[in-house]
Symmetry: C2
Subunit: 309 residues, 2 copies
């Protein structure tokens, strides 16, 4: 008898989005994790990792995909268990929402294969349990866009109250990942805990332009909104070549460019696919000149979020 299984593609996500620190994130089509959940006869979660040599725990209590599924089994008092095959497509510590993708993909696949109906809000809460294992807190800025798709706005904390923001059709994203790992915890440590009133108002003036530009498909406003005057300057030195890579993206025609999530990946927005491709090549070249190997993707925004294939 063929055992039941469901495979979910969970997209990579770009959080922060320049001025939207800890609140904005969007999903991209080009890259993601694939999670296959199969029903097993013994209760509990077993895990199998593929696509990476990185040391990822297969202990479900310590695995970002496993923990949410384990919690689901307990919460619903299910007799069966789940086997998760996690095919990592997103490089670890890349700032592209890899842990969020595994957490979201795991719970979406498991709920589907177990025929447990969960609302998007419930799925989000389960996935946040997994994200907390990876980053130490229930950050929703990668989990929300991975689950809902598109561009999402969330409140920091336990109740993110996801808003799915409009997103201009023609905008394409470039993401380039230099061959290094940067832990979110390290990237957070460099941030000053205090912000001046002036920094706050200068940053919010740009954030408001970004949001308005997204809602109103106004690329000039988006351009202004991608000027992160607060966090990017504090983190830029963690990424070798960042200034040159950003400059290369702008010179190649990008509307703007900033750090993807906590880095080290760098993203850019462009007005069309051809420009986004030109931007990708320019960014990779700049990383190479800074002595860093890198890999890059051009992608439309992923509208659907994590879905069963």
């Amino acid at each position: 008898m063929k055992s039941k299984s469901v495979t979910v593609f969970a997209p990579a996500t770009v959080a922060n989005v320049a001025t939207g620190f800890d609140i904005l994130g969007f999903a991209i089509d080009a890259i993601g994790d694939k999670i296959t959940a199969s029903v097993t006869n013994e209760t509990g979660v077993t895990i199998e990792i593929a696509g990476t040599d990185a040391p990822i725990s297969i202990d479900p209590t310590k695995n970002t995909a496993g923990a949410p599924v384990l919690k689901l089994l307990v919460a619903k008092n299910l007799k069966n268990g789940v086997h998760l095959k996690i095919q990592k497509g997103i490089p670890l510590g890349s700032g592209m929402g890899g842990s969020a993708a595994s957490a979201v993909g795991g719970i979406v696949a498991a709920a589907k294969v177990l025929k447990v109906k969960l609302s998007q809000e419930e799925l989000l809460q389960y996935a946040l349990e997994g994200e907390a294992i990876a980053s130490g807190a229930k950050h929703s800025d990668n989990v929300a866009p991975c689950l809902y798709g598109g561009l999402t706005l969330t409140k920091p904390g336990d109740q993110p109250d996801v808003i799915r923001l409009p997103f201009p059709k023609n905008i394409f994203c470039t993401v380039v990942h230099p061959a290094m790992e940067l832990k979110t915890s390290v990237a957070r440590q460099v941030l000053s805990r205090e912000i001046t009133l002036q920094q706050h108002t200068q940053q919010t003036a740009r954030l408001a332009a970004l949001v308005a530009g997204m809602c109103d498909s106004n690329s000039e406003w988006i351009k202004r909104g991608l000027e992160d005057v607060l966090f990017e300057p504090q983190r830029a030195s963690l990424i070798p070549g960042f200034a040159a890579v950003k400059a290369a993206a702008l010179k190649a025609g990008a509307l703007g460019s900033s750090i993807s999530g906590a880095g080290p990946s760098v993203f850019a927005f462009s007005k069309n696919k051809a420009t986004a491709e030109k931007v990708r090549r320019a960014m990779i070249k700049a990383f190479t000149e800074a002595g860093m190997h890198s890999q890059g993707w051009v992608s439309a925004i992923c509208k659907t979020g994590a879905v069963a294939k």
Copy 2:
């Protein structure tokens, strides 16, 4: 011979708009200053004040309407002078953009009567000279909406780069002014100069919702965006009865309510005119119960900004 004159209605404005501290502002139809500019034969600016007993300087170098006009005469090397009649409709120190209205109305009327063509950006820069006399700095969050109309987004500083944001048709504003004066300088002094990272992200999550709600006509998002978790708590105690007035507005059906500019006026948004009127009565009643006389207005958003009547 009848001397040439131009009269301009310069609308009151609500700056900050809850979470849009120092960057958002909108103009209202219901109340404003009227400035009449007449050409005189002798160069220089003379000033006449009406509609208020408040001690407003008629020295053009110290008057918010006079200073920009004086600067224009010098910049354009004009032989004629200008007489300004300032009919104050906006109470002084009310947090409804009175100084911005006089500054904008003065320069718009003077430029028109003198037949000097100025772009909106140039008019804004002249008006900011006047605003600087009143508040000590070139704050554009009242000047911009007074000049451009509607809801504006500006960058703090000398180059505001005004963005005119979309605004939902059906939203009506209530503004209630308690019979007291609150100097902007005092209201700024109570603000902490440092903001924590957490306060910044919590506030920006709401600001982004406000902007998205305005652009997308989504009243639920606007509702969230009107929760100022950062500045309002620091300023609320400067306005006797504020908590009760805000609670009354919400109970009467307002989407949200916060301090207008630096206060002491309080504004609220409602989904329609009838609710905004109900909200107005509830707010005035709450001020009365707190021992404060007050006056209130219900208004659509003023789309045009300062224009010659």
